[in-house]
């Protein structure tokens, strides 16, 4: 038994060490990419940043810099894709918002924003302030506060009324933020969003080459994925129009 524990401990130690070495390598590639970018070697910068990502590590600045490098290299779609990925990790970064806004303004025909009613607009705007980890932590804090209030409600009879109202208020807030968490979870992990990386892509009525084109998606357009089928993906544009595009024309967030 002791031997097994020893072996496991050694393996874990090595694994941890290997992980930290990879993290250090990713960090070094990041700086290397920055240096290439500074020398206006954007292809080199892209290569370094992509290699850092291939090691299994990510960060907001890494995606942001990669987006910049793609932008400078003329790949608008990839630039917007990486800005959106960065937005999930650092949603309130003003530089990122500025660059994303500028990149989206260059989309041919203009970026089509989703048509939402006012409550939905407010909800998604609020959701945009939080990363998945951020909203998870906020929900956990609210949950702890709610439990504390319930315990106080059980023990303290004198302040029952105020505790009931406070608990109800916290519960409502918790439900609201949990729904934001679910929305973020759906967005980040289920991978229902994508960006057009081809110069343009024909969105067709059916997943075949020889059918009528419904509308055209241009490079950089942010779309929602509905379903996929043998090399084709059914997508929905911001204005609600749906069509089938080729898988290679888009990249999931």
């Amino acid at each position: 038994m002791r031997i097994i524990i020893f072996i496991l401990a050694v393996l874990l130690t090595f694994a941890g060490q290997a992980r930290s070495e990879e993290a250090a390598r990713a960090g070094s590639l990041f700086f290397q990419g920055n240096a290439s970018y500074g020398e206006e070697d954007y292809e080199g910068a892209i290569s370094d940043y992509e290699e850092a990502l291939s090691l299994g590590f990510e960060s907001g600045p890494l995606y942001y810099n990669l987006g910049n490098a793609y932008f400078k290299a003329g790949s608008l779609g990839k630039a917007i894709l990486n800005y959106l990925r960065a937005g999930r990790l650092m949603p309130n970064d003003t530089d990122l918002k500025a660059n994303l806004g500028y990149a989206q303004s260059l989309i041919k025909g203009g970026a089509i924003q989703p048509e939402r009613k006012r409550p939905a607009r407010v909800f998604f705007k609020l959701a945009g302030f939080f990363s998945l980890d951020g909203i998870t932590l906020l929900c956990a804090i609210l949950y702890f506060v709610l439990c504390g209030l319930i315990i106080s409600l059980i023990l303290l009879e004198n302040a029952r009324k105020i505790l009931i109202y406070s608990s109800a208020a916290i519960l409502v807030i918790l439900i609201f933020f949990t729904s934001i968490f679910i929305a973020q979870y759906d967005k980040v992990l289920v991978q229902k969003e994508a960006v057009v990386i081809a110069e343009y892509s024909d969105a067709k009525f059916e997943p075949f080459d020889a059918v009528t084109t419904f509308f055209i998606l241009y490079e950089g357009e942010h779309i929602a994925i509905i379903t996929s089928r043998e090399g084709w993906v059914k997508v929905r544009r911001g204005d609600g129009r749906q069509g089938w595009v080729k898988t290679e024309d888009i990249e999931r967030l």
Binding site: R19, A23, A26, G27, F30, F31, N34, Y37, A52, L53, G56, F57, E58, S59, G60, P61, L62, Y64, N65, N68, A69, F71, K72, L89, M90, D95, A98, N99, Y102, A103, L132, D133, T136, L137, A140, Y143, F144, C147, G148, I150, I151, I154, L155, F181, Y185, L189
Partner: protein
């Protein structure tokens, strides 16, 4: 023209053919009586109102002028300004059979002025197809002759198109097409105008006997024109070809921006036509009142389009253009005034210029002032109302040598005469006093347009912001806080805490309020304590003490366990209390035996051996142990 025979009714509310419709007070109920009393009072009030002799007008209208064979048209003879005319006897009308339907009277009081009218209604039933004319009628009344206009009517063989039935009408055939019953026209006050000249545009919507709602302001093509806002729409009635139409009139003004052969319109008015839902089902009550009450209506959107209207737009003449002309078009008058006229150097003078008249006032710019270097002038304050535009200049005299404000000229192009006109005002004499000694002339200078840093519109470049210098917290992809096991484990703790505290609180509350529960809960602990004492007695072979303690232990335990008064518990309790509770017979026997041993020892202690003591102790232990396992 045909002459009608009429007779005066002599002030009677009912007369002529309608004599038989006079209400008979003997036969009517109380409600009818009250109704007629109200009508009578109303009549008296009306007669007492100041009312002057009104002009009488006479009109002949029909409800529609295209019908098919088998249907009918309603002919109305309207007399405005009197109700004292009985039904005229109509002469024969070619192609129609005529039936009198009855009179309809109206009284309206507007601003204390009473106006009344009577309409005699007839039904015309076509006898053959073709185009007919209801001839103009003339009638004599109080020495005067009144003549109506002729009304054309077309009778066709078959209905001219199914028209949705109006909400409250019966489903009689409607031979007229929808286009005849609702249409719009576009009109302009002129077909030839100059660039920037105001053109009054009117769009009229005509509705004949249709239920129309949600009428929108007309939209119209106006390429080359600048269109203003619509005024409040006017509503009135108009007779076209003898058919009464409700008219909604929309007025606006347009200005042409370029010359050439331009067009206005077509204008489109969007509205909804309300029609009764066709249903063969009768209501439960099978009564017209209830049928109407339960009727449902559908709303059909309509877009009524006018034709377009050509307008020729001319350029302003290039000859004889006044020097100070700056684009004003119309027919104007010009006034200028100065206040005050006696001032010191540096004091402000208000020069007020007023332009009054008809035209495109929006394009009227302030007349150019040629004041030389003697005055400092500021940008004018401009105000505009209907047909009047005012410019107020503030002038500062710089010198005490100034004696007058120079002549001011206003030039405009008179669209009526097609020529330029100039109106001059002034020069206006003023007196400028020199400054008191020691005072300096101070003139406030407004920054010129474009010179202010605040006003300057800076053109900003746009590009992406530079890369981040630091990589931030590099984390493994796919690692999220909600997946962290420690984080998940921590989430369970508050829930456990809540549950534990809830259970403890409930137990505490029960212990405080439920004595039976509290005794039952304490019974085993107390019994164990007593048993310990009993065991000590057994060890030292203290017979009296042992059995007394055993008896007490059993009494107290049973009392606590079953919430009974401990002192009164004896062998009888087994039969009276425990047996009905379905406790195992062996336990009951053990209890009985234990009590018996204790009683025997009390009365014959010498016969008790240590083995018997040990057996009693064991029995006591067993009783407590087994009763603790019994579920209550």
């Amino acid at each position: 023209m045909q002459k009608l025979k009429i007779s005066a009714r002599g002030g009677s509310a009912y007369g002529g053919k309608n004599q038989d419709r006079r209400p008979n007070l003997k036969n009517i109920g109380l409600k009818h009586f009250t109704f007629w009393i109200v009508i009578l009072i109303f009549d008296i009030c009306i007669l007492n109102l100041p009312c002057c002799a009104q002009d009488i007008t006479f009109e002949v209208t029909v409800d529609r002028n295209k019908i098919s064979m088998g249907s009918s048209v309603q002919l109305n003879l309207d007399f405005y300004g009197t109700q004292d005319i009985s039904a005229p006897e109509l002469p024969g009308i070619d192609g129609f059979d005529c039936q009198y339907l009855g009179p309809s009277t109206r009284i309206s009081i507007i601003n204390g002025r009473v106006s009344n009218s009577i309409t005699h209604m007839y039904r015309l039933i076509p006898l053959k197809t073709g185009k007919f004319t209801i001839p103009s009628f003339s009638l004599q009344y109080k020495g005067k002759t009144y003549t109506s206009k002729a009304v054309p009517i077309e009778v066709t063989q078959s209905p001219l198109g199914a028209l949705p039935e109006r909400g409250d009408e019966a489903s009689e055939g409607q031979p007229q097409s929808l286009e005849d019953r609702i249409f719009a026209v576009i009109e302009a006050d002129k077909t030839k105008a100059y660039v920037n000249e105001m053109i009054s545009l009117t769009v009229k919507l005509f509705i004949n006997e249709l239920a129309i709602r949600d009428i929108q302001y007309p939209g119209f093509e106006h390429d080359g024109f600048s269109a203003g806002e619509y005024q409040e729409p006017k509503k009135y009635r108009e007779i076209i070809n003898g058919v009464m139409h409700d008219v909604i009139e929309f007025n606006t003004e347009v200005f042409s921006m370029r010359s050439g052969e331009l067009t206005l319109g077509p204008a489109v008015i969007e509205c909804n036509l309300v029609v009764k839902k066709q249903s063969g089902r009768r209501s439960f009550f099978n009564d017209d009142f209830f049928n109407n009450f339960f009727d449902r209506y559908d709303s059909h959107p309509l877009a009524i389009e006018t034709i377009y209207m050509p307008i020729k737009i001319l350029d302003l003449p290039q000859e004889d253009v006044p020097e100070n002309f700056n684009g004003a078009l119309g027919d104007y008058n010009f006034y200028a005034g100065i206040e005050p006229k006696d001032i010191n150097v540096g004091d402000p003078i208000t020069l007020k210029m007023t332009i009054v008249g008809k035209g495109n006032l929006k394009t009227v710019k302030p007349p150019v002032l040629d004041l030389g270097d003697d005055f400092k002038s500021y940008e004018p304050e401009v105000s505009q109302a209907e047909n009047i535009k005012t410019f107020k200049f503030v002038l500062i005299p710089k010198s005490d040598k100034i004696t007058e404000v120079p002549q001011i000229k206003f030039s405009f192009f008179d669209t009526g005469s097609g020529s330029y006109k100039t109106i001059s005002r002034g020069p206006t004499p003023i007196r400028v006093n020199s400054l008191p000694e020691g005072e300096e002339l101070r003139i406030f200078e407004l920054p010129e347009e474009g010179s202010s840093a605040l006003r300057r519109r800076e053109v900003l470049g746009r590009d992406i912001i530079f890369i981040k210098e630091a990589p931030g917290k590099l984390k493994q992809r796919g690692t999220y806080l909600y997946k962290n096991k420690l984080f998940i484990a921590i989430q369970v703790l508050p829930l456990l805490a809540v549950i534990s505290i809830l259970i403890l609180q409930r137990r505490k509350e029960r212990l405080e309020t439920d004595i039976g529960y509290a005794r039952r809960l304490c019974a085993p602990r107390k019994a164990r304590k007593n048993l310990f004492y009993v065991h000590k007695m057994l060890e030292v072979e203290e017979k009296d003490g042992f059995f007394a303690a055993s008896f007490k232990t059993l009494q107290e335990y049973l009392g606590d366990k079953f919430h009974l008064p401990s002192a009164g518990i004896t062998e009888n309790v087994v039969e009276d209390v425990l047996r009905p509770r379905n406790i195992d017979k062996d336990i009951l026997n053990s209890i009985t035996e234990c009590f018996s041993s204790c009683d025997t020892a009390r009365y014959a202690p010498s016969s008790i051996t240590k083995e018997q003591m040990a057996r009693t102790y064991k029995l006591l232990e067993e009783i407590i142990d087994r009763l603790e396992r019994v579920k209550q």
